[in-house]
Amino acid sequence: MFGRLRSLFSAIILVFIFNTVAFSQSADLIWNPQFSYSWKSSDRLAYNAKFNLFNSLNSQTTEEFLQFAESQISFAYSSSTRLKLGMGYYYRLSTPFLNGYQYEHRFLQQAGLLTFFGDRRISHRLRNELRFRDSNFQLRIRYRIGYDFPLIGEKLDVGEQYLILKNEFLGAFSEGSASGENRLSIGHGWLLSRKQKFEVGLEYRTRSLFTENGIRHLFLLSTTFYLNR
């Protein structure tokens, strides 16, 4: 079972690398390091702070390398063991080392539903985002489904690894325009302790769906360290 999953993961990485090379002239390549810190004040109330960077791997200059810097703070209320409702705020700074950088304030509301099959989990997340940018306002509605499971055995214990598969579709609406985007990703995680995990993910984004300009492709390599109390 583990061998088959490892083969599947290797095959997906090969497809990703092939696509990356094939599309590299027209696609954006991003390395996305993230740090996430979560904590609880009770069984029902949880908080999360996240910081992440979007670094362009096909940038021509050092100044262009950092595309976005984002900080996020959010909280979630658990109405049951499976259902969470939450709100949050993002601040994004675009191309901070270039003249004419842009900022964005983002407010989000979200609902998440988690279903367990032993230690395998299926997650659904519906998110509404209000993006206030210096150039315009945009409303985004996002739906994501995820599945994560231990690579060995029935339970994910400390020191063990897991896979996480996600797909998200989002619609973006601003004055006079609308577009869609799909984000397909696979991640490989290590449960370092009950409070720490590290995840490497590969994400393929199909952008500018339903627009006259044509679809754009983005490949994103994420490295995320999760810390929770």
Binding site: K40, R194, T224
Partner: protein, 195 residues
Amino acid sequence: MRSTSIICILLFVVLGCASSDPANLKQEYEKPVSKSEFPELANQTLDSFFDESVSINYFFEVDDVEESFEAKLFFNEEQYSIEFTTDGEIEDIEKIVSFESLGYALQGALTMFFSEEFSTYSINKIQVQYTSSVADEIFLAQVLNQNTDTITQRYEIEIEGKNDQELGYFEFLFTSNGELLQKRRMYKRSFDNVW
């Protein structure tokens, strides 16, 4: 950017101190092992009852600080977990059962207990736990033959529930009369990477 950073730091300081692991958290770790890594005495006991047609999964387990080995198997359409000491002697035998298979008196006692403990709850798993001081071969034969009248029985029940103060996953241990022996909170992985 600066104001956001200040808000984040303040929230870390104020709210980050408010949470820690509860003292009654179930600290269990389970790792698959091969048959050759299992204690020899335990393998001898298992081999004398189960031929090759019975598929056995072997685990090494740490519960708090106590180490043990566990064999999980299906036999006569029942799911058993046989726990051994590190020397290979049987500690206990567990069998997954349904709520409906419990006696009416026990069903009533448990329903009353959980209704008082939680505003809403659901039972995820029930295991009857057998312990005995007789020789391992006799004990295992008694359990497999459902001849359990003289064996100590307890019930380990996993619950998902909530009340005004608590919300989460819990493990309860009851006597065969429905008296509570132990309540532990179960560890569940954080939502942070799927939320």
